[in-house]
Structures are given as structure tokens and as C-alpha cells.
């Protein structure tokens, strides 16, 4: 098991160290992950029901299901 771990560790270490044309791609992936998780997730995409207990979530969705809804915009375009 430890041989397998050290094999993959050396694979990654040497792979990244000797990278040629792949380097910009790694930077691209890192930039994207920073934008996604460091900015968008934190500031714009907070889960709407975060902080609620399971019971509170059931209550909230149950209420949403049983209250009347506006159906005017069900379809984006005219039939």
C-alpha cells in the first residue's frame, strides 16, 4: 500500500515538475477553481436552505408545495 502511495506521489511530483505545454492548463484549472469556489460559491451561491434543520427544510418545502403559485411564466415562449 505504501509503495502504491509513494508511486503516485512521485508520479504527480515528477509530472508537475517536468510539465511543458500542460502548465498553462494547470493554471487555468486553478484559476477556474478559485473563481468557482473562492468567489461564486461564497458570495453568490449560498445554499438557500443552509442552516435549517431537516424538519425546517421539510416544513419550508411542504409549505411551498401547498401554497398557490403563479403559473404565468411556466413556459418561456408562447405555444
Amino acid at each position: 500500500m505504501s509503495r502504491l502511495v509513494s508511486f503516485f506521489a512521485s508520479l504527480y511530483r515528477d509530472g508537475f515538475r517536468n510539465m511543458t505545454w500542460g502548465k498553462p492548463l494547470v493554471w487555468l484549472i486553478l484559476l477556474k477553481l478559485i473563481i468557482l469556489f473562492g468567489i461564486l460559491r461564497i458570495f453568490f451561491f449560498k445554499p438557500a436552505m443552509s442552516g435549517l434543520t431537516e424538519e425546517e427544510k421539510s416544513e419550508k418545502v411542504g409549505a411551498a408545495l401547498t401554497q398557490p403559485h403563479n403559473t404565468d411564466t411556466l413556459n418561456l415562449l408562447t405555444h
Partner: protein, 496 residues
């Protein structure tokens, strides 16, 4: 526009963006694995270099496409929280399996494929390349299990206590993962990826041939690309047939919209374009019976009897049953009286399959935008057939040694690269716009699935995504074009 429409547009844009990368990943995975197999079997260095070049383009596509699917999950939690809660129990297992599988595949076999050329034996490397593609394909299966369930929600029971669709047993899980809609959708989507990968390789190779560069490499790559693409095209047609039969069975409104069929009947004709019809063809495709009954939009609205003799209620009747289910749900959740609770539960269970209809205010709400679905269907089929023809002609041109003479075919192959993306996106428009207004067929319409947000908040994130997506797409196209322009020369170190 209100929050429902902005959320839908944002989700559609994100899903469409994600689908720009997935099919090429699935298709190039097969092409590069086939080439590397030829290298290992024939011990011919040419195929190693060819495989390395296409792996390079695979890596670029993968790098830009990575994590685009996660954005959809952000949107589920923020914009579609009612939906997320409703499906949470059912989606948990397939999406967790997909996540774990994708992680292990990416962390192991991708690494060996990209970094391991000089570190492992050729056979071990070949196995890693195949497993990378197989891993991506299995990953797609779990996503499509989730999508297939939304189109045909089998194997789950609505629990009024938790307000969720839940899988009660291992048998239910099995029913979910063998959902016929998921299986045919998986086959259709994955094999369409093979077509994308195949025509991409053929188109890029055609460009080299037109420029008279890397001629041997281009001819041999074109051969592999054309075979992979043609196998994919055949499989797409077969799985498309199966998808049509399932649409007729589980989502007849989608089929009626795709055909622009107002009034159905036995021996229904297939419309190629308005004014040109093939008699009986729609019945044959949808029911595998020359005279099978295919309901039209009006039949579905008014109620009809299907080919098995089942009486399908009108949408108005379904709305009444849906409201009964919702009223029963409200009573069940409010009352503490055990007798009343039991009665409400029984009433809910008797009508739950139409629960979503209780949210509609008029029967016409179940009709998707017919024009969009009708034309998207024709774009998908028409472009798919055109691409299959170009792939076939490419194969003939290689066989008859006519690539140099048939310059028009080389240009057509290049043109097919953007067309295959339009074809794939059109397919998803048929699948997803065609099932409107439902997020979950018959159970949850989009206007109830949404979170309590302001339209402005969703609009803001829509334009942020638009800018970010456009930027990354521009970067990918630029890197991809540079890599193609440089050609299949391999760096001395053979590193990525």
C-alpha cells in the same frame, strides 16, 4: 422576466456549456485509446505519437471543462432549493457514486495517462488510458440516472412527512438505475460523444490535409476518427429509436411537441419539414407498429386511450386529482388527529402520481414551446445524418485514395466540427425543453421547484457566468487552435 425564467435560462446556459466539453471528452477518449491499442499491439511508434497528440487535445478540453458540472450543483442549492430537497434522497446515491468514481478515476488513471509514459509499462499505460475513458463513461451513467429519473420518476415513493421522493429499498434503487429512460439516454448521449470525437478528429485531420502537413498522420487519424464516428452514428440511431419509444410511452407530450402533432391517431405520419410527411412513419417509430396510436397535443389535453387500452385522463382531470393530492398533503402536515392523518395519507397516495398537476392553473400549461422543440428535433436529426454521411464519405475517400481529389469533403469535415455541437445541443433542447413545465415529470413543475429569490440576484449571477464562460471558452479555443497548429510533434521529454 421573473425569477423562474431567469433561473431556467441560467441553468440552460450552464448545462449547455457543460455539454460542450463532455461529448468531446467521451469521444476523444475512445479515439486515443484505440490509437494507443494499435501502438501496443503493432509496436509501432507512429501510433504512440498519434495517441499522444490526441491525448493533448483531450487534456485541453478536459482542463477547460473540469468543474463545469459543479456549477449546476451550485444552482440546484441556490436557485432550485425546493427541487433539491424534493429529490435529495433519490439523487444522493447516484451523484455520490458519480463523485467518488470521478475522483478516483481522475486521481489515478488520469495521472498515469498524463504523467506515466516513461514510468509504467506500455500495457499498464494502455489500461490507464482505457480506464480513463471508461471512468468518464460510467460517470456519465450516474448523471443520466438522475436525469432519467426526472423524465420518468420510477422506484421512489413520495413521503409526506419529509416532503421528499424516497427510495425505500434496494429493489427501488435497482429500479432507479435500470430506468429504461436512463439507459436509452445514457446510450444516446455517450454514443453521440463518440460521433463528436470522431468528427472532431476527422475535421482536424482534414485541415492538415488541406494544408499538406502531417499527411500520413492525418490520413491514419482520419481513418480511426471516421470508424469511431460511424460506429457512434449507428449506435446513436439505435438508441434514438429507443428514446423515441420511451418518449411515446412516458412523455407523450414531448413527442407530440417534437412532431408538432396537434391531433394524433392511428398510422400517424412523420413530418420531415412542414408540408412533407412520411405516412405511418411516426406510428412505426414511436410504437414499432405501422398503425400504432400516437396521441397529439389536443388528445393529451382532452384524454385518450393508449395502445394498451389504458384510459389516460384529460389534463383537467389530472389537475383535479393533483389538487386533491396537494389538499391531502396540507391536511396531513397540519393535523394531529391520527384518523384524519390516515385518511389524508390514503387520499394523497391515491392521487400522488398527478400531484404536480395540482400546481397548474390551466390545462395548456402542460404544453411545452412547440416551435422550439419541433425545430430542435429536426436540427438534431438533420445534422446527425449529415455528419454520418460525411464520416462515411471520409471512409470511402480513404479506401479509394480520393482524399486529395475530394477537397470539398475536407472542407465539409471541418464545417462538421461546429455542426456536431449544434446537433448535440439541439438534442438536449428536445429532451429538456420538451419536458416543460416539469422538473420532475408529473410531480413538480418549475415554478414550484424554485427558491424564494429575487430575479435580480439570479440575473446578476447569470451575467457573471456568461462572462466567465465566454472567457474560458475563448481561452480553450485559443489553446486548442495553437495545439492543432503546432501539430503532432512530440516534445523530447514526452511530458505534458
Amino acid at each position: 422576466m421573473d425569477v423562474v425564467i431567469w433561473s431556467r435560462i441560467q441553468f440552460a446556459m450552464t448545462a449547455a456549456y457543460h455539454w460542450l466539453f463532455v461529448p468531446l471528452t467521451l469521444g476523444l477518449a475512445v479515439v486515443m485509446a484505440v490509437m494507443e491499442t494499435l501502438y501496443v499491439v503493432k509496436k509501432d511508434e507512429f501510433w504512440k505519437k498519434a495517441a499522444q497528440f490526441w491525448i493533448k487535445l483531450f487534456a485541453i478540453n478536459f482542463a477547460v471543462g473540469i468543474a463545469t458540472g459543479i456549477i449546476l450543483e451550485f444552482e440546484f442549492g441556490t436557485n432550485w432549493s425546493n427541487y433539491s430537497w424534493f429529490v435529495g434522497d433519490m439523487f444522493g446515491a447516484p451523484l455520490a457514486i458519480e463523485g467518488i468514481l470521478a475522483f478516483f478515476m481522475e486521481a489515478t488513471f488520469f495521472a498515469v495517462m498524463f504523467f506515466g509514459w516513461n514510468k509504467v509499462s506500455p500495457k499498464f499505460h494502455l489500461a490507464s488510458t482505457w480506464l480513463t475513458g471508461i471512468g468518464a463513461t460510467i460517470s456519465a451513467y450516474w448523471i443520466l440516472v438522475a436525469n432519467g429519473w426526472m423524465q420518468n420518476p420510477v422506484g421512489t415513493t413520495f413521503n409526506p412527512e419529509t416532503v421528499r421522493s424516497e427510495m425505500a429499498s434496494a429493489a427501488a434503487f435497482w429500479e432507479v438505475i435500470t430506468n429504461p429512460v436512463a439507459v436509452s439516454k445514457f446510450c444516446h448521449s455517450v454514443t453521440s460523444g463518440w460521433v463528436t470525437g470522431g468528427i472532431f478528429v476527422v475535421g482536424v485531420s482534414a485541415w492538415y490535409l488541406l494544408k499538406n502537413r502531417h499527411v500520413e498522420f492525418a490520413r491514419k487519424s482520419m481513418l480511426v476518427g471516421a470508424i469511431v464516428g460511424l460506429v457512434g452514428s449507428g449506435a446513436v440511431m439505435l438508441s434514438g429509436d429507443s428514446s423515441g419509444v420511451h418518449a411515446a410511452e412516458f412523455q407523450p407530450m414531448k413527442l407530440a411537441a417534437a412532431e408538432g402533432l396537434r391531433d394524433g391517431g392511428n398510422g400517424a405520419a412523420f413530418t420531415i419539414v412542414p408540408g412533407i410527411q412520411v405516412p405511418h412513419m411516426l406510428s412505426l417509430l414511436a410504437t414499432h407498429d405501422w398503425n400504432g396510436y400516437v396521441p397529439g397535443i389536443n388528445d393529451i389535453l382532452n384524454g385518450y386511450t393508449d395502445n394498451d387500452g389504458n384510459v389516460i385522463p384529460s389534463v383537467e382531470d389530472k389537475m383535479i386529482m393533483g389538487r386533491t393530492a396537494l389538499d391531502a398533503l396540507a391536511v396531513y402536515r397540519k393535523t394531529d388527529d391520527p384518523v384524519l392523518k390516515a385518511e389524508a395519507k390514503a387520499l394523497l397516495e391515491a392521487n400522488v402520481q398527478y400531484m404536480g398537476y395540482g400546481h397548474l392553473s390551466r390545462p395548456e400549461d402542460v404544453v411545452p414551446p412547440v416551435g422550439v422543440v419541433f425545430w430542435a428535433f429536426r436540427f438534431m436529426i438533420g445534422l446527425g445524418m449529415l455528419i454520418a454521411l460525411v464520416l462515411l464519405l471520409s471512409l470511402i475517400a480513404i479506401w479509394k485514395d480520393k482524399l486529395g481529389a475530394w477537397k470539398w469533403l475536407l472542407w465539409a469535415s471541418i464545417l462538421c466540427i461546429p455542426l456536431v455541437y449544434i446537433c448535440g445541443q439541439s438534442g438536449w433542447v428536445v429532451a429538456e425543453v420538451g419536458r416543460q413545465p416539469w422538473t420532475i415529470q408529473g410531480l413538480l413543475p418549475v415554478n414550484v421547484a424554485i427558491s424564494s429569490l429575487s430575479a435580480g440576484a439570479v440575473k446578476t449571477t447569470f451575467f457573471i457566468f456568461l462572462a466567465v464562460f465566454a472567457l474560458f471558452l475563448a481561452i480553450e479555443i485559443r489553446i486548442m487552435i495553437r495545439a492543432i497548429g503546432k501539430g503532432p510533434e512530440v516534445e523530447p521529454s514526452e511530458n505534458i
